[in-house]
């Protein structure tokens, strides 16, 4: 019988208590145990950034963290940003600038950028490129994503 560990955490403002195997990755916990499938799992070893979520306000890769490690923490996933009727300005900017095609990488980009714009609300293009250097996009390309971040920064400043 595999060891189970009790964890308490908050995800998108909602408190959860669960018993999990220590080897359960945070990404799989979020998707399978909580049913929050907005967080995407790409490379599963910390290269592509698709699984990026916020843990206590910091962007991290959920595929190389165990769920037991975030016991007591506050997690935010892409589901916390906006709803289809009321998108987050960053999501709206991605639509307006055509910053996604297949959308697989998008949740990871959004969570990375939402953290970054919180720290640096008015970045240069150079800084934007640096901020997203840990996220892979394999269809749209980065030009439109950089434009979307720039637009989002403007939208969020006037929000």
């Amino acid at each position: 019988m595999a060891q189970k560990v009790k964890i308490n955490l908050t995800v998108n403002g909602k408190a959860y208590q669960r018993e999990v195997e220590p080897r359960l990755l945070l990404s799989d916990f979020i998707r399978h145990d909580l049913g929050l499938t907005g967080t995407h799992v790409g490379c599963e070893h910390g290269l592509c950034g698709a699984c990026t979520v916020l843990v206590d306000g910091e962007a991290v890769r959920s595929c190389i963290l165990f769920a037991v490690q975030v016991d007591g923490s506050e997690v935010r996933t892409v589901e916390s940003l906006g709803t289809p009727d009321n998108l987050h300005p960053l999501q709206q900017a991605f639509i307006e600038k055509h910053a996604l095609q297949c959308g697989f990488c998008t949740p990871g980009f959004l969570m990375t950028i939402v953290e970054y714009l919180g720290k640096n609300p008015n970045p240069s293009d150079e800084e934007i490129r640096e901020a997203i250097d840990g996220n892979f996009c394999r269809c749209t390309g980065y030009v439109n994503i950089v434009e979307a971040v720039r637009l989002a920064a403007q939208k969020m400043a006037s929000h």
């Binding site: 080897r23 990755l25 599963e44 910390g46 962007a59 190389i64 165990f66 990375t112 250097d133 840990g134």
Partner: protein
């Protein structure tokens, strides 16, 4: 699930962690930031029987100035904290510059300063930084401790002097000498990727602008960080002219490294990189030391 099963220990104090490691012996593996270990476990290249997770041990997270001008860094201090810490920035401006080259923000938010040293990846920045800065490493075990010089810590790829029951608890960086300057140069195929060759240089000048000390540490071109002996032999006592710097760089590249070939570049190419990067790094470091 991707990783193989393991027993999980989540100590909340150093003493408790040391007791866990003592009891587990070769079955135990320390989990610090996990940014290298967990990917390896996802591939099942690593299958530790038990993990001792240090993330709940608050007393391992700190950056503390010591009276003699040194800086003590708790082993679990996240890379992103080291990168942005005002004392680090002020006293060791080379550190944030080097740390910024480690992977990406998301990784640096979890990866730890001590964890990178204990992991001893030959392509990693922090082990080389520790050697360049003459870091002293506090190694603890149940009922005892010892200090290890960073130069003596690394034995081979992913191999260090740490015994299974031991824990790297603290990294102490002695103050930078007056009139010293540092530089970091690397070439990698993409930003955040592993370097094909990289060098950290720290040089000190005497009152007459001659080189007093030259530490040149190469990495990603051998099994451990390589502290150059040739750099001292060629440079110390000389005025660091372009010709002398070129001679040191040439000798280091020819004699002191023997990089292997892989998909990304031949050994010969990487030897050439070492030559060019050392020359650039020494030139910049001497400029900054003035």
């Amino acid at each position: 699930m991707k990783p193989a099963p393991f027993d999980y220990y989540a100590p909340t104090s150093i003493e408790e962690a040391l007791a866990n490691l003592h009891e587990l012996g070769y079955d135990g593996k320390v989990l610090a930031g996990g940014q290298s270990l967990i990917p390896a476990m996802n591939f099942r290249m690593a299958r530790p029987a038990a993990l001792v997770d240090l993330n709940r041990i608050k007393e391992l997270f700190y950056i503390k100035p010591v009276d003699d001008g040194s800086l003590a860094i708790g082993t679990m201090t996240r890379d992103s904290l080291v990168e942005h810490d005002p004392i680090v920035v002020q006293r060791f401006p080379i550190i944030p510059f080097v740390v910024k080259h480690i992977a990406h923000t998301q990784i640096r938010n979890r990866g730890t300063f001590g964890g990178a040293i204990a992991h001893a990846d030959p392509a990693a920045q922090i082990p080389a930084l520790a050697v360049a800065l003459k870091a002293r490493l506090l190694v603890r075990k149940q009922g005892g401790q010892r200090w290890v010089n960073s130069e003596d810590f690394f034995l081979g790829p992913f191999m260090t002097v740490l015994e299974p029951e031991e824990l790297l608890a603290e990294v102490v960086l002695p103050p930078m000498a007056k009139r010293s300057g540092a530089s970091y140069q690397q070439v990698s195929r993409q930003k955040g990727g592993y370097a094909q060759a990289a060098v950290i240089t720290i040089v000190t000048l005497d009152e007459s602008n001659r080189c007093k000390e030259a530490r040149v540490v190469l990495f990603s071109v051998g099994e451990t960080p390589i502290l150059s002996k040739a750099a001292s032999q060629v440079l110390v006592g000389s005025a660091p002219s372009p010709a002398v710097i070129a001679q040191a760089a040439e000798q280091i590249a020819r004699v002191e490294v023997d990089p292997g070939s892989d998909l990304h570049g031949s050994g010969e190419y990487r030897r050439q990189l070492v030559n060019v990067l050392v020359e650039r790094a020494l030139t910049e470091a001497f400029e900054r030391a003035k």
